[in-house]
């Protein structure tokens, strides 16, 4: 096996775990995994009661996202699977919560051929429900802060779904100004959700 990111050969040392095939197979090399900076930033607010972000948006993470989203390397959804799984399962343990991925617009999804958040959750092997629909094709990254803050609702609730009086945990790849997450949280709260939290892989500076 080679590292999924830098293609360097992964050194494997024989061990009892590998003999019994219970060893975790490494996906990325030590150098690459060291280049990501884990911070576990937590923020609290009104609309979003709690947001947890796992990593900083450093150069390595920028490259990771580029390869994952723009070069469409779906295999990379596995890279942070364990970390995401731990955080999300921890949340599910205490509350009767529902995990909701931030969706892509359907046109955009067909163009990219996959939805990056759904794939992250599939890889993490946690239960989730696709409750939201993205109503337009606007891209956050191309907007200024002012434009982001004054936008019409980005999401609607999928027809035929019932929002219970419980906690919903939104999952997104990157948290910059928080506009996307707040839009999604507002829609859920208006539909009857009790509390909305969020987990994002990355926390970016504006």
């Amino acid at each position: 096996m080679n590292c999924l990111l830098c293609e360097q050969r992964l050194a494997s040392t024989p061990s009892w775990q590998s003999l019994f095939a219970i060893e975790k197979t490494l996906l990325i090399c030590e150098d690459c995994s060291k280049s990501f900076e884990r911070v576990d930033i937590e923020e609290r607010g009104d609309i979003l009661h709690h947001v947890k972000s796992l990593y900083t948006y450093n150069e390595a993470m920028r490259e990771f996202l580029h390869q994952y989203k723009f070069l469409q390397d779906v295999a990379l959804s596995e890279v942070f699977a364990d970390e995401l799984k731990n955080v999300l399962l921890n949340k599910l343990k205490w509350k009767n919560a529902v995990i909701v991925p931030i969706p892509m617009h359907i046109d955009k999804k067909i163009e990219r051929t996959f939805s990056q958040i759904d794939e992250l959750l599939n890889a993490a092997n946690v239960p989730y429900e696709d409750l939201l629909i993205k109503t337009n094709t606007e891209v956050m990254g191309e907007k200024t802060r002012e434009e982001r803050l004054s936008m019409r609702p980005l999401f609607s609730i999928k027809q035929g779904t019932v929002i219970n009086k419980t906690t919903y945990i939104l999952v997104d790849d990157i948290y910059t100004t928080g506009t996307t997450l707040r839009h999604a949280a507002t829609v859920l709260l208006e539909a009857g959700a009790e509390r909305v939290e969020a987990v994002t892989l990355i926390r970016a500076e504006r």
Partner: protein
Amino acid sequence: MKKPFNLAIRDFLHGRLWLRMHTPFPTEEITDQIENGHIELIRGINTKPSFMNQKQHFCNRCENENQSLFTTFDCAKCEGPCTYCRKCLKMGRVSSCTELIIWSGEKPVYPTNHILAWQGTLTPHQQQASEELTNSQEKQTSHLIYAVCGSGKTEILFPPIHKLLTEGKRICIAAPRVDVILELEPRLRTAFPDTKIEALYGGAKPTMEASQLVLATTHQLYRFRHAFDAVFVDEADAFPYKADETLQKAVRKALKPDAPAHYVTATPTDKLLSTMKRSGSVSTINRRYHGHPLPVPTYESLWNYEKQIRKGRLPEKLRRWTEQRLSKKEPFLIFFHHIGLMEESRPLFQLLHPHIQSVHASHPDRKEYVQALRNRELPGLLTTTILERGITIPNIQVAVVGAEQQIFDKGALIQIGGRVGRSVEFPTGDFTMFHDGITYAMDDAKNEIMRLNKGGILK
């Protein structure tokens, strides 16, 4: 009655295997040509069932067959399981539902008027090798030019290339390293001023012309199929070409069926040499074009250099060597085996001269720094093995720090030494191996250099 078509599409797509969705042309025009039968559609990935319900995938662009480099996912576009190739991912993803296109209509006709503007003359050795290469090309057999560093390998190629061009043939010079391509491009443009030349490497924009002479990194050959009447692989033993089977397959795929690949190197691998002796022909040159001997390396012990550098101290001998170069105003290259160590030592070198810089494969200013060294704007560069070959800078002096490291095999050391004394004005120079213990590779390299200098023939 056939509609007239945009000739640029033909010129661009002839011999080129391209993603249908990413051509520089309007999609309707491409669709028209597919309907007219001028463009062939090829599936991105072929999948056939294998034993035990396994599937065997094959990438039609890079011909990758390594199953661990395929990923299957649930595709939103083709609404089913879809497989993509990770080997050539960086050139735009190729998956089961991706279509590749190639020109299959009337072929472009290449001009036959080409000027060889190169003014120099070949030495008798070069002349002989050049003629032998031409003969091999006529017989459609592969040829290896095995010639020491600085023997004028590129010039040897000029007459055979010129001959092929005047026959209206399309040819490619490929090299594993982008640095080699960047160095070759201006030389070939000067030598063949009337020829449409295109240089392709990661990040280079393809021209829309029917380029008859293509310079390309071996990776770029993934994007060609049955395009060339000859491919010359320069520095055929360089990493990653020698270790990567798909790159070797890419050369064969880029060639028209039966067209030969030729190889040029100072340090062929044993495998290449024996293959060429068996099924091709070999020309050898053991003298530099200016007739001076190859610089023989001197060994200098540099005990615990790694520790010293990590502690922020430049080892004494290395400091003296560098100061000597600086005081004589000689440009220099210092090779390191490890980027981290090199970067740690850079500030120490910059105390000696603030303009000493370092380069490595993914350095953003790599091209600019090498050019600045050539223009004498920088006194010297620290480098990884990326600059071990292909570059010519008059009066350059060379040191290797950590010559005992595994990455410096015999071939690499000979190539590094081959940077020194290449020009007629400065046919000699210093080549020092700073080491923490002498390896067989160092001795092998030194012995081979001395044997060649004694007039020994290459084995």
